[in-house]
Symmetry: C2
Subunit: 105 residues, 2 copies
DNA sequence: GCGCAATACATCATATCACGAAGTATTCCG
DNA sequence: CGGAATACTTCGTGATATGATGTATTGCGC
């Protein structure tokens, strides 16, 4: 998929991946893979950005002798998801402009 | 609108603005304004990028004593628009992942 | 028990890109 | 005469996705 098109989706996608309950980096990537592929370095960059923006909180816990970071969505994160739904309406008007009439289909 | 979300739309939007016939920078901006606002510096950057990618051709002509650059979409540009329609299907699966069930609506 | 894949996270350098700011130059209207 | 509109250009900056690379552990096959 076009890199540029992904950009706006990446952040909300990560938020969406934890909207139903805590998760951790490695699992998020695997969960999102069928929908949107991203490299590990990208994911951890995004997780840090979202944490800085107060959209998720982090908790480090041991699992099988290894440390894992569990990410949990905050109210602010949910607000962001709600905003995204609003923005999507604008996106759809743009989409209709691009694929507008005068073309087959 | 979120800057990131715009990014993937900008290029195809400009192509869409000339898909029914030649146009020029200033007019493209005004035409797109209701759907997607962009600064002049952004537009001219994009026009140059699309020209470099062979998706449009440029022709300079005089109009009322002033020089204007007219942009015309190429076959390659039309292919890009067709690709966008395909990519959009993937985008919609991502969208559904983000706003998936477990939420009202 | 050795090697390798999978798990899990981190850092750095790089390239792309949208945009504000500023500039140049002309036309048109009051 | 002055300012808005038209029309395009250049420069610097900040944001950001990603590949490369590194660290460290667990589990599996042979």
């Amino acid at each position: 998929m076009d890199i540029q098109l992904k950009r706006g989706l990446l952040d909300v996608c990560v938020l969406a991946a934890i909207q139903d309950g805590e998760s951790y980096g490695y699992r998020i990537i695997k969960e999102m893979k069928p929908y949107l592929e991203m490299s590990e370095s990208t994911l951890y960059t995004i997780l840090k950005r979202l944490e800085g923006a107060g959209m998720l909180t982090v908790r480090t816990a041991e699992h099988d002798g290894r440390l894992r970071k569990y990410y949990k969505i905050t109210d602010r994160g949910r607000v962001r998801l709600a905003e995204f739904r609003e923005e999507w309406k604008e996106i759809m008007t743009v989409y209709r402009f691009v694929v507008r009439e005068g073309n087959k289909q």
